[in-house]
């Protein structure tokens, strides 16, 4: 299964669906989807990198915490993530994210928060699939 993401219909907010062969891909694709929404199609360069790790009580909680960190980087550190490399072990993610200074680009959108609404993460015959709604 090829890793990827898509935007799904949602009246007010942004619903993301991510796919991949392994669970790790879901987190990397979440970064791709996040960037696609925030940068509105602008090409973001990989000029800087940030490292962090997050934990969760389960996979959903982990995804929530992971996206919370990506949003935090944008708001507090002016860093827009465009790509990531992650290691997943025992509901803990160690991540390196690549991206650029957000204020170098104009017309970026803002994301308020990740939510648990309609969230799922599951293993299918073909690989892994996840869904998250972002409050924008």
């Amino acid at each position: 299964m090829k890793a990827g993401f898509e935007f799904i219909e949602h009246t007010a907010d942004i619903k993301l669906r991510m796919y991949g062969e392994r669970a790790e891909h879901l987190f990397v694709e979440a970064v791709h989807a996040f960037c696609a929404y925030v940068a509105k199609g602008k090409r973001i360069q990989k000029k800087e990198r940030k490292e962090f790790s997050v934990e969760g009580v389960d996979m959903q909680d982990l995804m929530y915490s992971f996206l919370d960190e990506i949003i935090y980087l944008l708001d507090a550190e002016d860093f827009i993530a465009v790509d990531a490399a992650v290691i997943l072990k025992d509901n803990r993610i160690q991540a390196i994210v690549y991206g650029d200074k957000a204020s170098s680009y104009n017309g970026m959108s803002h994301v308020k928060a990740a939510t648990y609404a309609d969230m799922y993460i599951r293993q299918t015959d073909k690989g892994w699939e996840a869904q998250v709604v972002l409050d924008v």
């Binding site: 935007f7 799904i8 219909e9 949602h10 009246t11 007010a12 907010d13 942004i14 925030v38 509105k40 199609g41 009580v57 959903q60 909680d61 929530y64 915490s65 919370d68 949003i71 935090y72 944008l74 708001d75 507090a76 002016d78 827009i80 200074k101 957000a102 204020s103 680009y105 104009n106 017309g107 970026m108 959108s109 803002h110 994301v111 308020k112 928060a113 990740a114 939510t115 648990y116 609404a117 309609d118 969230m119 709604v133 409050d135 924008v136």
Partner: protein, 470 residues
């Protein structure tokens, strides 16, 4: 499952685990749109939360949200009920203020483009643009705990501004210690910024007056220029909500909830109290945010129109929880009213209102969406009986952002706005399309239903002349 019980009132009978019935205020036309998504299911889910009293309510602009619907109102017993951050929303004290200007339409139009361009430069919008008010820890804590009192002391606000904010721009019981370091870091450089999404700043004029006496009290007259600001607590409030949704979910078993996003805690628990304090702090931050945007606008107006004064008519929160007394089953009871995408609509005589509005009821500001009217309404006595003193908060979305991007052309929106005689400054064309007027419900219908039902009565109609979208 939903029954129409009068022209504009629909009831969802109590079934399954619902503790109270649901009720939605809508015309047939609005209900047609409400029923297109899972909004009613969300109203039913909220009806299952412990301590809910009366009804789980949907306002005329209700639409699908996350956990609670947007345009949702629910009151919980102040002793035995819960508090749920999702019932307030991630953007704590997202709200609207309206400034009235002693300038008429004709006078403003001479300098329209220049003025909107300068405001656009001084009020950052979108993501990744920081404001000029970057605060150290001590100052930030003062903002969180003191709200508009801080702004008055620093010369960013006048005394009258404070009087014309809900709760005088300072919700009590706010302790900066209950706001996480992460939340403070996110908000530190965002004071005085608009944000993106549905946030906006519009220069409008009073196009029509419905109720002359009340309009006069509110300081509104035909053809007068007004400025509407729609923003909230920015990253700080969003992080407060994220933190407490997660923490409450971990502490109180989410398996018993219809949805994890409905995470809640007993109002009197330690975490419940901490959230209420953090929510008040974020709300104070939002009042100051809208005040600093006002400060910048006043500077630009002052440079171009030296004789024009911008006075604050009112500042309302539409994402907030408040302790209020309401009649439940014939008895007065203290409840915690959660309003998520809903405006308080206190009628005449309410002692919490500024003295100038105590005879009329409070001003309610219903923002439209750049190519439509906005409205000013007045709070009513009837709304106490019907909706825990609440009404709509705007048009409410009808189309998803994805759908809007796929089906609406930027050129069409641009032409529509030109034909409507609106000058738009937007961060991106995509953002403009996502927020296209066609993506929203009919604001005229929302205002009409609110008026007919008596949730809030029509006072004036406003038409945009210049718009900044984040």
């Amino acid at each position: 499952m939903i029954k129409k019980i009068s022209d504009y009132i629909w009831e969802i009978p109590r079934t399954g685990k619902m503790l109270v019935p649901g009720k939605v205020f809508a015309s047939d036309k609005l209900m047609g749109k409400i029923m297109k998504d899972r909004c009613l299911e969300q109203i039913q889910n909220v009806a299952q939360l412990p301590g809910i009293v009366g009804y789980s309510l949907g306002m005329p602009d209700a639409h699908f949200g996350y956990g609670f619907c947007v345009g949702g109102v629910a009151a919980f017993d102040a002793k035995d009920g819960i508090i749920s951050p999702g019932g307030i929303g991630f953007d704590i004290n997202c709200g609207v203020r309206l400034l009235t200007c002693s300038l008429n339409k004709k006078g403003f139009l001479k300098k329209r483009t220049q003025v909107i361009n300068e405001i656009y430069q001084h009020v950052p919008s979108g993501a990744g643009r920081n404001g000029e008010f970057v605060l150290d820890d001590k100052k930030l804590e003062e903002v969180l705990e003191k709200g508009l009192d801080w702004a008055v002391a620093k010369g960013y606000a006048i005394k009258e501004d404070k009087e014309c904010c809900e709760d005088n721009g300072r919700i009590k019981g706010a302790h900066a210690k209950d706001v996480s370091h992460r939340a403070k870091e996110r908000g530190r450089s965002q004071l005085g910024t608009l944000g993106s999404g549905n946030h906006f700043l519009e220069i409008q004029y009073v196009e029509k007056i419905f109720d002359c006496a009340t309009a006069e009290t509110f300081g509104l007259e035909p053809n007068q220029i007004v400025v509407m600001i729609h923003s909230g607590s920015r990253g700080l409030g969003h992080q407060v909500a994220s933190d407490y949704v997660q923490a409450m979910g971990k502490k109180y078993n989410p398996d018993t909830l219809p949805e994890r996003q409905l995470a809640c805690a007993p109002i009197r628990s330690d975490i419940g109290k901490a959230y209420l304090s953090a929510m008040a702090a974020a709300a104070n931050f939002a009042f100051v945010n809208r005040q600093l945007i006002t400060y910048e606008i006043r500077k630009v107006f002052g440079a171009h129109f030296p004789n024009a004064k911008l006075a604050l008519m009112y500042d309302v929160a539409h994402n907030i929880a408040k302790f209020e007394k309401h009649i439940v089953d014939g008895k007065e009871k203290m409840v915690c009213v959660h309003r998520k995408g809903a405006t308080r609509s206190f009628g005449p005589g309410e002692k919490d209102l500024p003295s100038r509005y105590r005879k009329t009821g409070q001003p309610i500001i219903l923002p439209g969406s750049m190519g439509t009217f906005s409205y000013v309404l007045v709070g009513t006595k009837e709304s106490e009986q019907l909706s825990f003193s609440s009404t709509a908060h705007g048009a409410g979305r009808a189309l998803s952002r994805t759908y809007a991007l796929e089906h609406i052309k930027p050129e069409t929106v641009e032409k529509e706005l030109r034909d409507y005689d609106v000058v738009l400054k937007a961060g991106s064309r995509k953002g403009m399309v996502e927020e296209a007027p066609a993506a929203y419900k009919d604001i005229d219908e929302v205002a009409r239903v609110s008026h007919e039902l008596g949730l809030g009565r029509l006072v004036a109609r406003l038409k945009p002349l210049a718009v900044i979208k984040g």
